[in-house]
Amino acid sequence: MIDTLINQRVKSIQPSGIRKFFDIVSQMKDVISLGVGEPDFLTPWHVRDEAIYQLEKGRTTYTSNSGLLELRQEICHYLYNQYELKYNPNDEVLITVGASEAIDLAIRAVIEPGDEVLIPEPSYVSYSPCVILAGGTPVAIRTTEETEFRLTAEDVEECITPRSKILILPYPNNPTGAIMEKDDLKAIVDVLKKHNILIVSDEIYSELTYGTKHVSIASFEEVYDQTLVINGFSKAFAMTGWRLGYAAGPKSLIAVMTKIHQYAIMCTPTISQYAAIEALRNGMENVRCMVEEYDRRRKLLVHGFRKMGLDCFEPKGAFYVFPSIKSLGLSSEEFCDKLLYEAKVAVVPGNAFGKCGEGHVRISYAYSVETLEKALERIGEFVQKYKK
């Protein structure tokens, strides 16, 4: 009965085929999981302490729909200091429930039924469903190992049609760890400035780059007015459970997104907003330490996989490596299945992030060095067995 009431678009979104795999993982014992997409660090103590203090002070009421002005001001300072981006805290920034909400809002604010959204693949899993729910059509742009999973201007241009309304730019990338450097972005900018297309730049991993500083596409004047920057506190400040992100962009777009946000969410959790102010004011040294630690683990893993004889391009961002398992003659899902049952290590099949992720697996290094070493040992023995 209820079934007939369910919205067709929601119905059309299939639960991921690898859901079953996840269920098995969570029930097995002695499994080392390298499958988690969130930091292993706890939120730094000074941030937690500040939140406790603010609770004691009784900060338990709503804030303005856009979020605390004080926080929006801190975010604008931060975006300017780190990425040379200028935004007005009064009407060009919106605080959201994680970067996830910001993605959904941006898509809902723009997309009419039939509109197309260009999404590089492999990439994070929420873009397509958000587009479908909004009545739009996701259009995948393949990226490959040959270009270190960077997005090329040619590929973007090829996918643009009169119905294209948004390009999602998810770099540093989950699951590949790919980044876009200034020159890569410049090429994309030259294409997009000729089109009336919104760039939604999901920069949630922007602090986690190695050997090179993140560049935001919004720092290119030519496309500043057609770019929405999305970021948050989950990855850089190890604050996933606080659910806090933000969007910064053109005033008229932020206003529309705020309208949806105001009716659907009202405002983000007040206590998280105070915690985020503390994180931005006094947390950058902690970020630096975490990045240094991630970098060491990243090098250990890349070295480990290459030593096993697997192709593994060097990811320069996020906290994932994305080695190729094609040489073993197994599909991504077969590899992950067998690895789980035979070696008790859980990793995520690359095709969970789009078809062109096939032949790869995503391995997270948001784990201690001891855990990573133990896992590498198990994976090494497993790979040895299947190598031809």
Binding site: F22, V125, N174, A346, V348
Partner: protein, 160 residues
């Protein structure tokens, strides 16, 4: 580069030279050579494990003793510090600013052991003016490690 190596092994002295080399992007031989050099010039003074003895059957007590002394002409506090740190039951000796001069950390099997050490050895030294002994009741955190501080990984096994 030496400092980078030291920072790594200060937190985990069981890292292999290969691991250190990979993490820092240098050659394994270079790591070995640097470590050897630092062992020889005693920059690396030793290697130890951090043990929560409460988890074992072994009985130990730790005391922190504030010691006031008369510094000696020409030798300052060094001579008296040496006379104190030579005792094997003394685990640490620090020269302090503030209300007293030397902070002496002593370990013994029983409180009586420690009391005897203070009354029959430490207090009798010529330059020692006074002592104040504080027994450690519980160690929460030592050398940066929180005892019983490892919590279970509460994250879901898979999260995209």
């Amino acid at each position: 580069m030496q400092e980078k190596i030291l920072e790594l092994i200060e937190n985990n002295s069981r890292l292999t030279p290969e691991q250190i080399a990979v993490m820092l992007g240098i050659k394994e031989e270079e790591v070995c050579a640097e470590i050897k050099k630092m062992e020889e010039n005693q920059t690396i003074a030793g290697y130890m494990a951090i043990i929560d003895w409460e988890k074992t059957k072994k009985e130990t007590v730790t005391a922190l003793i504030e010691v006031k002394v008369t510094p000696q002409r020409g030798l300052g506090f060094d001579k008296i510090a040496e006379r104190i740190y030579q005792y094997p039951e003394v685990k640490s000796v620090y020269l302090m600013s503030g209300g007293y001069d030397l902070c002496v950390i002593v370990e013994g099997k029983t409180m009586k052991d420690v009391a005897l050490f203070v009354s029959q050895r430490l207090a009798l030294l010529d330059s020692v003016i006074s002592t104040a002994t504080h027994f450690v009741l519980k160690k929460y955190k030592d050398h940066g490690i929180i005892f019983n501080g490892k919590s279970k990984d509460e994250r879901a096994a898979i999260w995209l």
